[in-house]
């Protein structure tokens, strides 16, 4: 009985730890409001709201267009390169927005490589600038849209692939041409999936710090950072973070609710898969360009530019600092990956071992952290660590604050959802009869987990560790705030170099981040290749 109770208690205990920093942030709304609020209110708050709003609207509009049109094109038409585009369209996901922002400024600044090339090719004067200023709202919108559109592409493609051919044929016979079929029928039918994808993009955009900071755009995240580090006012920073958290929460709820739009899917048992139309000539070229341009801007340009920078410094980047940062990153991400995978295994086992609706609900709530911006998590975590230091080590000064411990907890909260999704799908493949058999053989509880489930879950465990690692490597704002003094990771090092305009030196850590970021992309592309109904 005691064993069963402890299994049931586990999700409760973890949920308390996971939600503690968020509760601390939100509780700041009930605290005192400092004089800095009048400064914020009079001078910058409106700018934060306006910039965030314009950024979100622009990015949402662009990702909607790019994501749905590319998904429609690769799902419904056959043309040169289609098989490659199908998975290559998700490659930009491996480039964090802040790295694309750095490469864009390196390329398109007045004396960036692209403008230099134009001046050289056409023998123009040195003050001639061809490309418009990229350090602007438009530049930021393009950066976010071309790194985040795969969220919309993935969900749209998955929804379109499940649309029956007969629906499309019926609409053709009712008078719709191919373009009309897309926007009058296919798009409304996949609306819930598209909305969910766009909401994810909005959450990511609102959470970003690195790219908007580099472009000097005043959004909520840069505002929180400046209030804390500029005005040294943690309480006001937490109150600002609470506002952002509430906004993100609204988008999170919309995303969750729209996923349940069952009436938008056909439950017809006579489903006939979509067959592609063969495109040739000009139409094939158009389809090729529709798919190639997003990959070119979101993946090829940054990779080429980063490689070019890395080549310029020869092997000079491969110094002690790089190795030390890489080791820090590796150990942090590996540690977080193992903790997340272990935790997800234990919690999923507890849900399976003693099924209970409340426990199941609580377990699903643990994945909420993924939607919380890293910056907010960091703000809450700092305060939590201060409380814990005061409570546990009152005689000492600082133990947990600014330690690896706080940083790793923040990573675990932020990336648990990734590990959980992999472990959850791994558990779905283990039949319940296997549990029954082991129980009849006298093996249950920990022994069942260690001797039966763990060996069967090896691949799922490895996948979850890798997925978590690739996300931790990219995380910037939480690392910047929570890292111990003088402790650098690849993301922090990239940020530091870029903020000092030392782009060539930023290339090596950035490439390392992108390479590690490719890990989940490889998994996703494998899933995409095997997801065709035929």
């Amino acid at each position: 009985m005691n064993t069963i109770s402890s299994w049931r208690l586990l999700p409760f205990a973890v949920l308390i730890i996971f939600t503690a920093p968020l509760v601390i942030v939100l509780s700041s709304l009930l605290g005192n409001y400092s004089d800095n609020w009048s400064h914020l209110y009079e001078f910058v708050l409106l700018d934060y709201v306006n910039s965030s709003l314009i950024l979100v609207i622009g990015v949402a509009f662009l990702v909607f267009i790019i994501g749905t049109v590319t998904a429609w094109t690769v799902t419904n038409y056959n043309f040169i390169g289609k098989d490659i585009f199908e998975w290559a369209l998700i490659l930009p996901l491996s480039i964090p927005p802040y790295i694309l922002a750095y490469t864009f400024t390196g390329l398109f600044d007045p004396y960036g490589d692209a403008n230099n090339l134009i001046r050289y090719l056409f023998d123009l004067s040195s003050d001639f600038v061809f490309f418009p200023n990229v350090r602007s709202m438009y530049g930021a919108i393009i950066v976010f849209a071309f790194t985040l559109y795969p969220y919309v592409y993935l969900v749209s493609r998955s929804a379109l692939i499940n649309q029956s051919k007969s629906m499309k044929e019926a609409s053709r016979l009712l008078g719709l041409n191919q373009v009309q079929v897309f926007y009058k029928l296919a798009l409304p039918m996949i609306r819930p999936a598209v909305i969910a994808g766009v909401m994810l993009v909005i959450m990511e955009t609102l959470s970003d710090f690195g790219a908007v900071d580099h472009f000097a755009i005043e959004t909520f995240t840069t505002g929180i950072f400046r209030t804390w580090y500029g005005l040294y006012d943690l309480q006001t920073a937490m109150q600002l973070a609470s506002l952002l958290l509430i906004i993100v929460g609204v988008f999170y709820l919309i995303e969750k609710n729209t996923r349940g739009g069952s009436i938008y899917t056909s439950n017809n048992s006579n489903f006939s898969p979509n067959l592609e139309d063969n495109l040739q000539g000009f139409k094939a070229l158009i389809a090729f360009l529709i798919c190639f341009i997003p990959i070119f801007i979101g993946f090829i340009i940054p990779i080429v530019e980063l490689s070019f920078w890395a080549y310029e410094v020869n092997l000079g980047f491969f110094n002690d600092r790089f190795i030390s940062n890489a080791m820090n990153t590796l150990s942090l991400s590996l540690g977080t990956g193992i903790i997340c995978a272990g935790l997800a295994l234990l919690i999923n086992f507890s849900v399976r071992f003693k099924p209970n609706k409340l426990v199941e609900k609580l377990s699903s709530l643990l994945s909420l952290g993924y939607a919380v911006p890293g910056l907010i998590l960091a703000v809450g975590m700092v305060q939590l660590m201060v409380y814990l230091d005061t409570f546990l080590f009152s005689s000492l000064d600082i133990v947990l604050t600014g330690s690896i411990f706080g940083l790793m907890i923040a990573y675990v909260i932020k990336t648990y959802a990734l590990a959980n999704s992999s472990i959850e799908s791994g558990y779905q493949r283990i039949s319940n009869s296997m549990d029954e058999s082991s129980r009849l053989l006298g093996i249950s509880g920990w022994r069942m987990l260690i001797n039966v489930h763990s060996p069967l879950m090896k691949t799922a465990l490895l996948t979850s560790v890798l997925l978590v690692m690739s996300d931790v490597v990219k995380e910037l704002p939480a690392t910047l705030i929570l890292r111990p003094f003088n402790f650098e990771t690849l993301a922090v090092s990239t940020y530091t170099y870029a903020s000092e305009e030392r782009m060539l030196q930023a290339a090596a850590p950035a490439i390392a981040i992108v390479i590690i970021g490719l890990i989940p992309i490889i998994f996703l592309s494998k899933m995409i290749r095997s997801s065709r109904p035929n």
């Binding site: 029956s164 016979l173 008078g175 041409n177 029928l185 609306r191």
Partner: protein, 216 residues
């Protein structure tokens, strides 16, 4: 020849490199005529309807509708410009639209949508379902909606591809009669393909047989 709604001449079709599914097929249907083609599964019945609807391109031959070439070696009119209705077993109702919206879907803007839809809802006895969604109604009701949707744009020719085969026998028999009456009332020409002789007998005036892609 002026009263012909459909003329098919020397039609041949194969899927990819496989054998011909339709072989030198000739067929004429007059305005208001109801024709059925009987045959076993895989004999090419459904392919013939898809060729007429413009959902497949033939290897050779000619399809003429109301004296206008729809398909030959030079011309291929896309399905949306053929004004042909097709009802299949799968129904293919749009799940995100209500019954009313499904029926409206193919009606051109300048027409009186409300009147057309109301008449069809009444004719097919589904007026009470107009605000419901496809997943909220039964299989038989879904099939009536699919038929109403196909009839709404007032097609020159209605193609029926074993539309009732997924329904139970009693409901099937009711629908045979009702659909036949509705089509007579609208003076619609029908081409039905089926493997059920009873369905062909009840619903159409002329029955043809098809075997291995040929009308015999």
């Amino acid at each position: 020849m002026d009263n012909l709604i459909l003329e098919i001449k020397e039609l041949n079709h194969a899927y990819g490199e496989s054998d011909l599914t339709i072989k030198d097929l000739n067929l004429n249907i007059s305005i208001g005529e109801k024709v059925s083609i009987l045959g076993p599964s895989g004999c090419g019945k459904s392919t013939l309807l898809r060729l007429i609807a413009g959902l497949e391109k033939p290897n050779s031959g000619e399809i003429i509708k109301k004296a206008e070439v729809m398909t030959n070696h030079k011309i291929f009119i896309p399905p949306e410009k053929r004004n042909v209705g097709l009802v299949v077993q799968e129904k293919a109702l749009f799940p995100h639209l209500s019954v009313y919206e499904n029926i409206c879907f193919g009606i051109h803007r300048n027409k009186d949508k409300n009147k057309i839809v109301s008449d069809l809802l009444e004719l097919l006895k589904i007026d009470s379902l107009k605000n419901k969604y496809p997943h909220e109604i039964s299989g038989g009701e879904q099939q009536r909606v699919a038929l109403a949707r196909s009839l709404a744009p007032n097609p020159d020719l209605l193609l029926l591809d074993e539309p009732f085969s997924a329904l139970d026998e009693e409901l099937r028999k009711t629908l045979y009669k009702e659909v036949s009456e509705v089509c007579s009332e609208k003076n619609s020409s029908i081409l039905l393909v089926t493997h059920d002789p009873y369905e062909a007998e009840v619903m159409t005036d002329k029955q043809l047989r098809m075997e291995n892609g040929k009308l015999i």
